[in-house]
Amino acid sequence: MRIWILVSDTSSNMKNDHSPPAPHPSRGETPLPGTVPPLERNPDADVIHTPLEAAIGEGDLRAAEDGAVVKGSSLWQDAWRRLLKNKLAVIGMIVVGVIILASLLGPFAIRKATGVTPEYIPGDAALLKSFPPFTSPDGSFSWKHPMGTDTQGRDLLARVLQGGQISLMVGIISTLVSLLIGVSYGAVAGYIGGRVDDWMMRLVDVLYSLPYIIIVIVLLAMFRSQTPRGQLILLFIALGSVSWLTMARIVRGQVLSLKNQEFVLAARATGVSTPRIIFRHIVPNALGPVIVYATLTIPTVMLSEAFLSFLGIGVQPPLASWGSLATEGIANIGIFPWQLIFPGITMALTLFSLNFLGDGLRDALDPQMRKF
């Protein structure tokens, strides 16, 4: 029996694609740009085990079709190409990149340019107050403080950029913690299966229904004010350990569909140990949805961090995050609105861009997960 495979553009909605396999085009025909010709693959095999999207990138097909040696494009390259077509996602990516770079380099650049550090409190008592953006102490226009100064006369731009370091760090590290827990948990549950899987997933169901934010508040409030650094580590652990549940479910689902495939069987037949199969053979193949969900977890975690900082149990001074800077600004909203508006807008812009980037990545990496 011959197997014909119709490869549709994976970014289109696959559910509505019920057209029958197209006949094989004549060998000499060159495929139209942008369309993928149907492929005759392994004509002697009766069954194909590997799902198409996972196994074959578009470039591979064309190479096989023409019989020529063309550099094959991997799934990742295809995904990257699809991502670049999504304007909003590209803008999101650029904005996030700019904000990360500015947060990392900005404080140094400002010190080079104006000699002001984020912690610098002017010695002159006349400067110990909050100046509006682009204003010098005598009220005239000046480039020295583009975002104004805070109540102690510190440069707000430098503080916002340095706050970005903390906010992004909390977002990224907590997401990594949740990745570590979620991926291991989901992979183990999915691979072992049976009763173990039942119990592990039931535990996830129970944890899902817990009002975890209350527990985080109690945890942080109780163990508060050891040291700012200690509080930060506590924050990573607390936020990371409550946001792994969905990740565990996603990974488990992926593993369930991967574990009966031939490459796993081959690994097992050659005597590879179970942990090695899980983490070296299965998990890398489930990476797409994991990356998508991790990208969407970062803004959620950053929002939680800001929320906790607003309550006074998140980032502790002298460290400052966007959340704690905005909180300082709230107290002076009527008089010095820029103290709230600049950190607030920077944060909103970052979360906005991260969300769009996450949505774009989802469309590019995992078209089936896409909600239109």
């Binding site: 409030a221 607003f310 149990i313 600004g329 944060m347 909103a348 969300n355």
Partner: protein, 307 residues
């Protein structure tokens, strides 16, 4: 159905006890206690207080006493900070405030979210669609403690239309800003969920059937599509309640409302153990019961689901 409810109850009740136990454990594991403050109490007074509240007993006895009081009499004891006030009285007093703001915000979010979500789905890829989805993304990305003060700055401190804070009973102008602040993020989520759900339903066969029967577009949308398209919104109600909780904490602090969330944060910062435990237990019970009700409603609305 009855079996399903009973089975869920069998999971729900231990879960509530676990939440309370974790909270109790956290309070106890943390160094210090309610009486370790800046001002040191004379040892004799501290000893008397510890005896009065049973803090001198071994931990398992204290745990047993706390849990027994809750399970047996639904009694959470007396607040340490607000002397002489029972936890039950504080909850009873602050719940109406939180509930009013929360319910109004949720209703507003449903109204606006479903409307804009449906419009976006019906006019997919139009200006309406992109506009409302961009707004929704904005609603998800702007933290509510940034949005609230900006609204205050605009409507109270610049235009002098609305009062900036304080609780003033149910129908009052004071409620407008808190409710708006709280509902922004739900509006956004509900609009996105409605749009996704509606798009999926609008492509299904039964909608084509309804259209080909010659039903009016209005009838198709309102009677046929909305029912199926709103399923994701129904299942969002559970998580929404959890969100509502964190949201009310922020909004109550921003607008100085004497609600449950405000008391909870104060109690946590004061290490007021009975009050923390009481509010945590109350919230856990409410949340899990609501989750159960949502699941039942889900089964009722979608006949394909069988338990």
């Amino acid at each position: 159905m009855l079996r399903f409810i009973i089975r869920r109850l069998l999971v729900t009740i231990p879960t509530i006890l676990v939440v309370i136990t974790i909270t109790w454990g956290l309070i106890r594991l943390a160094p210090g206690n309610f009486y370790t403050g800046e001002k040191r109490l004379p040892p004799a007074i501290e000893k008397n207080i510890r005896e009065k509240y049973g803090l001198d007993k071994p931990w398992h006895e204290q745990y047993g006493r706390t849990m027994w009081g809750m399970v047996r009499h639904l009694d959470f004891g007396t607040s340490l900070k607000y002397e002489g006030q029972s936890v039950n009285a504080i909850i009873a007093r602050s719940l109406p405030v939180s509930a009013t703001v929360g319910i109004l915000a949720y209703l507003l979010a449903l109204l606006v979210g479903i409307t804009f979500g449906s419009i976006a789905a019906l006019k997919q890829n139009s200006r309406w669609d992109y506009g409302s989805m961009a707004l929704a993304m904005l609603g998800i990305s702007v933290p509510n403690f940034v949005l609230g003060p900006i609204l205050v700055l605009l409507f109270s401190l610049s235009l002098y239309w609305l009062p900036p804070s304080r609780w003033n009973g149910f129908p009052s102008k004071n409620l407008i800003l808190p409710v708006l602040t709280l509902s922004a993020i739900y509006m956004a989520y509900i609009a996105r969920l409605t749009r996704a759900g509606m798009l999926e339903v609008l492509r299904s066969d039964y909608i084509r059937t309804a259209r080909s029967k010659g039903l009016s577009e209005r009838h198709v949308v309102v009677r046929h599509a909305l029912r199926g398209g709103l399923m994701p919104v129904v299942s969002f109600t559970g998580p929404a309640l959890a969100f509502l909780l964190t949201g009310t904490v922020v909004v109550e602090r921003l607008f100085a409302l004497p609600g449950l969330g405000n008391y909870f944060i104060q109690a946590s910062l004061n290490r007021d153990e009975p009050l923390i435990l009481g509010i945590v237990a109350f919230i856990a019970i409410m949340l899990l019961t609501m989750n159960l009700l949502v699941d039942i409603a889900y089964a009722y609305l979608d006949p394909r689901i069988r338990y």
